[in-house]
C-alpha cells in the first residue's frame, strides 16, 4: 500500500503536463468537454488511491507512527542533504481525505461551471497543478519539500485568482494574494533556516525530536522558531494581520474559491502548525499568540461578514473567521478539534462556495445579494444543499459544524482559556446570523433580480448539482460520524498517536474528565446560534412558513442607524485596506522612492564613474602601444638612462 503513495502526487502532475501540452489542441479540435477528460480522470484516480491509502493508515495498516516512502536524494551537498520522501500518518490521512475528495468534486463541478469559458484547458491544467502542489505539501516528510509545495500552491492560487486576467480587479487581487503570502513566507523561510542551523536536519520527524532536546537549554530559540513557522502559517491561512488577501482572492472563478480559498490551501497553515505540534508543545508562549491571533481574526472577520453584500465575500470572511477558530483551537491545545473543524469546514465551506457558484451561474454572473432574492423555488437543489451548509456552519446539532465548533469551544473552556471561549461564543452567534442573512437575501423574500435575467433563471446542469449533493452529505453527517462522542470519537482515536505527546506536555489531558460541564457549554453555544438565526430570520424575512412577510429593509436600517460607527466599520472592513494603503503604498512608496534615488544617484553614480575613469584612461593609454619595435626600444633606452642616471645622482658614482 505504501508503494502507492508516490502515485498520489504523480497522477496530478502527469495530468497537468498532459493538459498543459495538449489541452489547447484538444479543445480546439474536439471541443471543451474532451479537454477535461484527462485532468478530471487523473484526479478521480488520485482520489481512489488516496482514499485507499488514507483508510489503510486510519485503520492502523501502517502502524502508529505511519509509513515512510523515500524516493531519491534530492540535494546531496555535504552535510546538507534533502531527500524526496513521503510520510503518511493519521494526520496526513485526514488531510488526504479532505483534499482529494473536495478536489475531485470541484473538478467535476468545473466541467459544468467553466463550460462557456475560452480558457477551459488552462483552468484544468492549473487545477491539476494545484492538486499536485497541495498533495506534495501534505505528504512531504521534509520541511524543504513542504516549503516547495507551499510556494507552488501559492503560485497556483495566484494563477487562478488572476484566471480572468483581462479583468483589472482579478489581476490586482492575484497580485495582492501573492505579495501578502510572501510576507508570511519570509517568516516561514527564516524559521526553516533557524531549524537547519540548530538541528542540522530538515526532516520533519528528526528536526522535531532535536528541537525538543534543544528546548531544555534554549527555550527562547524554540519559541522564536515556533513563532516564525506560525508567521508562514498565518500568511497562507490569512490570519490577522495578513488576512487582507483572502476576500480579494474571490475574483477568481468560484470553483477555485471553493477548492483553494476555502477547503484546502488556506488550511495548509493549520496543517503546518498541527504537523509541528511537538514544537508548539514546547513553546506555550507561542501557542498563546496563536490562540490570540486566531480568535481575534475570528471575531474581526465575522464582524465584517455581517454587512458585506457580495455573496462570495460574505463566504470569504466566513472562511477567515472559521480559520481563526481553527488557530484558536490549535492555540488552546485542542489539536484534534482543530483538525476536526478543518475537515468539517472543508466540506461545508466547499459546499457553500460551490452553491454560491451555482447561484451566480443561475442569475447570470451577478454576485450582489441585493439583486437576488426569492430564488429558492427556481433553484431548489442549490437552495436545499446551501441550507444544509448554512445550518452546518451555524452549529446546529446534529450537523457537522456543531460537533467541531463545540469541541473547540469546549476545549478552550476546559483548558482554561476562558477569553477564547467568550469571544468564540460571540463569533458563533455572529456566524449563525450572517449565514442566514446570506440565505435570506439570496433565497427568501421577493425577487430583486434584474427583470431581463428573471425568466432565464435555471438550475445548474447535472455535473454541477451532483457535487453539491455529494458534499451536502458529509456536511450533514461527518460530525456525527467521526466526532461523536467528543474526545472518544473515531477521529480522536485516529489522531491520538499524533497529538498524544504534545497533549501530555501541555498538561491538559486530565481536564477531559470534566464531563458535567459539557452539557452547559453545548446548551450555551446552541442557544447563541439559535439567537443568531432568529435575528437573521426576523430581519431578512421568510415567507417559507408564512411566519413573516418579505425582508424588512426598514428594520434593518433602523438597526444599522443605531450603531452607525460599527456599521461603517464593518462595511469598510475596519479600514484595514485603507491602513495598508496608507502605510505601504503612500508612506512605503515614499521610502521606496527615496531608496531608489539613493541607489540610482549615489550607488550607481559611484560605480558608473569608476567605470568611466577606466574607460577614459584606457582610451588615452592605448596610444602608447604603437606596435613599432623602435618606439619600444626607445622606451627601454630612456628608462635605462633614467634609472642609471638617477642611481648616479642619488647614490653617487662608485668609488
Amino acid at each position: 500500500m505504501a508503494q502507492l503513495v508516490p502515485l498520489i502526487v504523480a497522477l496530478p502532475i502527469a495530468g497537468f503536463a498532459f493538459t498543459a501540452l495538449f489541452g489547447r489542441r484538444i479543445q480546439y479540435a474536439y471541443g471543451r468537454p474532451p479537454a477535461s477528460l484527462v485532468p478530471v480522470g487523473a484526479i478521480v484516480l488520485t482520489w481512489l488511491i488516496a482514499s485507499a491509502v488514507a483508510i489503510t493508515s486510519l485503520t492502523g495498516g501502517f502502524g502508529e507512527g505511519g509509513a515512510s516512502v523515500t524516493l531519491w536524494r534530492w540535494i546531496p551537498a555535504g552535510t546538507f542533504s534533502i531527500d524526496i520522501g513521503f510520510h503518511v500518518d493519521q494526520l496526513t490521512a485526514c488531510l488526504l481525505i479532505v483534499v482529494t475528495t473536495i478536489g475531485m468534486l470541484v473538478h467535476v463541478y468545473s466541467i459544468g461551471y467553466m463550460a462557456h469559458d475560452g480558457g477551459y484547458w488552462r483552468f484544468f491544467a492549473y487545477l491539476n497543478l494545484f492538486m499536485f502542489s497541495m498533495l506534495l505539501l501534505v505528504l512531504a516528510d521534509n520541511f524543504l519539500v513542504v516549503f516547495a509545495g507551499w510556494e507552488l500552491v501559492g503560485f497556483c492560487s495566484y494563477a487562478l485568482i488572476g484566471f480572468w486576467y483581462r479583468r483589472r480587479s482579478a489581476a490586482l487581487g492575484a497580485k495582492k494574494a501573492f505579495l501578502v503570502n510572501r510576507v508570511g513566507d519570509v517568516g516561514f523561510a527564516l524559521g526553516l533556516a533557524a531549524i537547519w542551523v540548530n538541528t542540522q536536519t530538515l526532516n520533519i520527524h528528526d528536526a522535531l525530536e532535536r528541537l525538543a532536546k534543544i528546548d531544555a537549554t534554549n527555550h527562547g530559540l524554540v519559541v522564536l522558531i515556533a513563532l516564525l513557522v506560525f508567521c508562514g502559517a498565518a500568511g497562507k491561512s490569512a490570519q490577522f494581520p495578513l488576512h487582507v488577501w483572502l476576500p480579494d482572492a474571490m475574483e477568481g472563478p468560484t470553483p477555485v474559491s471553493a477548492l483553494i480559498h476555502a477547503a484546502t490551501m488556506v488550511n495548509a497553515g493549520v496543517y503546518l502548525v498541527a504537523r509541528v505540534n511537538p514544537l508548539f508543545g514546547h513553546a506555550p508562549e507561542a501557542m498563546v499568540v496563536v490562540a490570540g491571533i486566531g480568535i481575534f481574526t475570528a471575531i474581526l472577520a465575522a464582524s465584517i461578514a455581517l454587512t458585506q453584500t457580495d455573496i462570495k465575500r460574505v463566504l470569504a470572511y466566513s472562511t477567515l473567521s472559521q480559520l481563526g477558530y481553527m488557530f484558536a483551537a490549535l492555540g488552546v491545545g485542542a489539536w484534534t478539534a482543530a483538525i476536526f473543524h478543518l475537515m468539517t469546514h472543508g466540506f461545508f465551506k466547499g459546499l457553500l462556495f460551490l452553491d454560491s457558484g451555482s447561484v451566480i451561474h443561475a442569475v447570470h454572473e451577478e454576485q450582489d445579494m441585493r439583486r437576488m432574492g426569492g430564488l429558492w423555488r427556481k433553484i431548489p437543489i442549490t437552495y436545499w444543499t446551501m441550507l444544509v451548509g448554512a445550518v452546518a456552519i451555524s452549529g446546529i446539532p446534529p450537523l457537522a459544524g456543531f460537533f467541531s465548533k463545540d469541541e473547540i469551544l469546549g476545549s478552550a473552556f476546559k483548558n482554561g482559556f476562558l477569553w477564547v471561549w467568550g469571544v468564540g461564543i460571540v463569533v458563533a452567534g455572529l456566524t449563525a446570523f450572517y449565514m442566514f442573512r446570506l440565505i435570506g437575501l439570496t433565497f427568501w423574500g421577493t425577487s430583486r433580480v434584474d427583470p431581463a435575467v428573471e425568466p432565464n433563471i435555471h438550475e445548474s446542469p447535472r455535473s454541477m448539482t451532483a457535487p453539491l449533493v455529494a458534499l451536502a452529505i458529509p456536511s450533514a453527517v461527518l460530525g456525527l460520524l467521526i466526532g461523536f462522542p467528543p474526545e472518544n470519537g473515531l477521529l480522536a482515536g485516529w489522531l491520538r498517536p499524533v497529538f498524544e505527546g504534545t497533549v501530555k506536555l501541555s498538561g491538559h489531558e486530565e481536564s477531559f474528565q470534566l464531563f458535567g460541564i459539557d452539557g452547559a457549554l453545548i446548551l450555551a453555544s446552541v442557544t447563541v446560534a439559535v439567537i443568531g438565526i432568529s435575528i437573521a430570520w426576523r430581519l431578512f424575512g421568510v415567507e417559507l412558513f408564512n411566519l413573516r412577510r418579505a425582508p424588512d429593509p426598514e428594520t434593518v436600517q433602523a438597526v444599522t442607524a443605531r450603531a452607525p460607527f460599527l456599521y461603517r466599520a464593518s462595511l469598510n472592513k475596519w479600514w484595514f485596506d485603507d491602513l495598508n494603503d496608507l502605510v505601504f503604498i503612500r508612506i512605503g512608496g515614499r521610502v521606496a522612492a527615496a531608496c531608489w534615488w539613493f541607489d540610482r544617484v549615489i550607488v550607481d553614480g559611484t560605480v558608473n564613474s569608476i567605470g568611466s575613469v577606466t574607460v577614459v584612461a584606457g582610451r588615452e593609454l592605448r596610444r602608447v602601444q604603437t606596435g613599432r619595435v623602435q618606439n619600444y626600444a626607445l622606451g627601454i633606452a630612456i628608462g635605462l638612462i633614467v634609472m642609471a642616471g638617477s642611481y648616479l645622482l642619488i647614490v653617487g658614482a662608485p668609488r
Partner: protein, 103 residues
C-alpha cells in the same frame, strides 16, 4: 693614454652609442641587427679591457667574452631568419611597416 683602461672604455662607449643610435634610428631591419652586433661587441671590448687591466678579473673576462660571442652568433642567426621570414610575407625590410600588432 694609449695604454690605459680609460681609452678602451671610451672607445667601447662610443661604439655602444653608435650601435644604439643605429638601432633606434635606422628603419631597415638588417641595419638594426648590425647595430645590435655593434653594441654587443662594444660591451665585449669593455669586458676584455677590464680583464687585461684588472688582475682578479683576468680569467673570468675571456670566458664571459666568449659566451657573449656565442650568444651574439645565435642572436644574429635567429634574428636574420625572422627578418627574412617577415620580408617574404610583407615584401619590405622597413620595421615601421611591421605594425600588425597594432591593428
Amino acid at each position: 693614454m694609449s695604454n690605459s683602461l680609460d681609452s678602451y672604455l671610451v672607445l667601447s662607449g662610443l661604439l655602444f652609442a653608435i650601435g644604439s643610435f643605429g638601432f633606434l634610428a635606422r628603419r631597415n631591419a638588417i641595419s638594426m641587427l648590425m647595430s645590435i652586433e655593434l653594441m654587443l661587441n662594444a660591451v665585449n671590448l669593455a669586458i676584455v679591457a677590464f680583464g687585461s687591466f684588472i688582475e682578479p678579473l683576468k680569467a673570468n673576462a675571456s670566458v664571459i667574452a666568449i659566451i657573449v660571442m656565442a650568444v651574439a652568433a645565435g642572436e644574429a642567426t635567429v634574428g636574420l631568419a625572422i627578418v627574412i621570414a617577415i620580408y617574404r610575407n610583407r615584401r619590405t625590410p622597413l620595421v615601421d611597416e611591421y605594425d600588425a600588432m597594432r591593428q
